[in-house]
Amino acid sequence: MKVQQHLRREDLVGKVIDAHSHIGIALREAAQINYPYCSCAEDLAYRQKANGVDFGVVFPISPALYYDLPTIIETGELRPAARPISRVPYERENRLLLTDVYNFCPEHSHRFLPFVSVDPGRLIDEQIASLEELEREFPIYGIKIHPLMCQSKALALLDVGKPLMAFFAERNWPILFHASTDPTDPFSQAADILQVIERYPEMRFCMAHCVGCHRESLDRAAACPNAWVDTAALKIQVDLFRAEKSPAMLDLDYSDHTRVFQALVDLYPKTMLWASDSPYYSYITRRMQAPGVYREFRLKGTYEQEKAAYDALSPAQQAQVGENTVRFLFGS
């Protein structure tokens, strides 16, 4: 038996909603002296209050507690632990998130819509059993899937991960995907995620990080009535876009991330959502992209810079972005 949701569509109408933020610890990042390495509900509440943000979608950072911790810290590789702390990927991390939002910080729970995370390709039945336990204790509003963080391909959802999709559809849970067009990330390719989206027209999806401003992917998402795109970590994404612009990207003024958001909302008014990716609006790390492939990031942004992108929209654009977010979360 699911517990009753504590937030409803009407609570969110006309409000500023951050569609993408994280709660939890990043063990490898802390141990390897990278950034960011953590965030909790209380910290997010301070950021939101300081910036006039009313609500936030929150989900875990990583599934590390299912894996061998020393190996993750040393290499970034996910190797199942001999005696896993989590029973399945994300079991502890999802529980921490939900307990933080509802039990540890009840004074802030009215701000947060917790999503739970899943690994799209591993221990599917066991993950479903774990989610069934959680939904009996806590309201859950959707799913976040970060294929790269799980080192499982998004396309697994059309194969071994199919039962997950049926489980989510029964609950009317929207799905937010980390999405990339970076060729060094074989797990989260936007083209693969769009295949999943197109295969499940009855479900709602959001692709993160402006899908790298990749024109074809954005056009394809905008053509799907069940797909949205968020701006998470826009400032540092745009910093990257300036440095790594390709002909496949939209031809925009990348000198200023706030202008990029304005242009995206002009081009795709019913598709774009505003999101901060807090605390990942900064990213200073060496990330394993695939076995033996590492990528260095030295990117710095702030919640204020993320919010500035929202503030630069016209009131009509802000209203449209808010409506898009509510539709993604609750449906039409």
Partner: protein, 344 residues
């Protein structure tokens, strides 16, 4: 050593949080306890929202030197076969310093980082690591939490003795976590005073109002080189109000109105004006966890407070009391202007 980025003059008259943490708590997160993390940016938001100008920051725990799966499961610290940290706190100290000075340079003007040490393990290696760190970053003092290390504070009088010369050469003050509760075998206030009396050349601060133990408060007040912080006052007072064995118990308890932590702050400052220093313990102004206190002894905590409630205690003081509190913090951090042996 590189130059300090904050000097005494920068902090005169400012609101200083003398006790706060930066880092992650692997075991607490995995066991669904709270709090489980804090970063410099997080602390900066708390400070700004509450009109706090500066804060002393240090790590949460030394887990990365130990066997992480074992620690997460049982709470016991046993040396890892291949430790991630070169010595206890090596990675955690570096994370605090890197966060303050490199990841968040926009906030570094707010923070005085202390480094943490384990009082008895791998002392030579710990000192070697601190020598490396001080070449890269300004360091303002030392935090020692014996229970977080599962090493008795008295190990400072044994294997940890060489720390004192090292700290004294740098004029680093030491902030001690202390306890008066039975069963907490690592951080007993009486043991901590033994350490302090053996090394009067250094400055010390004893945390958490020393469990509101009247005689220990008097003893600290009588020493010219010892201060006491109020960190996590709201939940400490709640414990005392409930007659928890974790706090001093009558007749040893400091006599005051325990119904409100703000009143306790006023009473402490009225009685020990030159000794009490305000600190929040952020994010540990809440504490919801099961902690290993000694061999096979666990204590359950279900305590909730906020940074706002901690700050309310300071705000309830008079202007003159707040100024004195600031002066106390500066003397602990930088030393007395006058002869250190002068009575308070």
């Amino acid at each position: 050593m590189i130059d300090k980025h904050i000097r005494r003059a920068d902090l005169v008259g400012k609101t200083i949080d003398i006790h706060s943490h930066v880092g992650i708590q692997e075991r607490v997160a995995a066991q669904i306890g709270f709090p489980y993390c804090s970063s410099v940016e997080d602390l900066a938001y708390r400070q700004k929202a509450n009109g706090v100008d500066a804060g002393v920051v240090f790590p949460t725990g030394p887990a990365l030197y130990f066997d992480l799966p074992e620690f997460v499961e049982s709470g016991r610290l046993t040396r890892a076969a291949r430790p991630i940290s070169k010595a206890p706190y090596e990675r955690e100290n570096r994370l605090v310093l890197t966060d303050v000075f490199r990841f968040c340079p926009e906030h570094s003007a707010r923070f005085l980082p202390f480094v943490s040490v384990n009082p008895g393990r791998e002392v030579k290696q710990q000192i070697a690591v601190l020598r490396e760190l001080e070449q890269e970053f300004p360091i303002y003092g030392i935090k020692i939490a014996p229970i977080a290390c599962q090493s008795k504070v008295t190990e400072l009088l044994g294997p940890g003795e060489s720390f004192f010369k090292f700290f004294a050469e740098r004029n680093w003050p030491i902030l001690f976590h202390v306890a008066v509760s039975q069963g907490e075998e690592f951080s007993q206030a009486a043991d901590t005073f033994r350490v302090i009396q053996r090394h009067p050349e250094l400055r010390y601060c004893l945390a958490h109002c020393i469990g509101l133990h009247h005689a220990f408060l008097e003893r600290a007040d009588a020493l010219p080189n010892v201060w006491v912080d109020t960190s996590a006052l709201k939940i400490q007072v709640e414990l005392a109000f409930q007659d928890s064995p974790l706090m001093a118990f009558p007749p040893e308890r400091f006599a005051c109105d325990l119904s409100d932590h703000v009143k306790v702050m006023q009473a402490l400052v009225a009685r020990f004006p030159e000794t009490i220093i305000w600190g929040t313990d952020s994010p540990y102004h809440s504490y919801i966890t099961r902690r290993l206190q000694g061999e096979g002894v666990y204590a359950e905590f279900r305590l909730k407070g906020t940074y706002e409630q901690e700050k309310a205690a300071l705000d309830a003081l008079t202007d003159a009391q707040r100024l004195q509190n600031n002066a106390n913090a500066l003397e602990f951090l930088f030393g007395r202007r006058e002869d250190a042996t002068e009575p308070k």
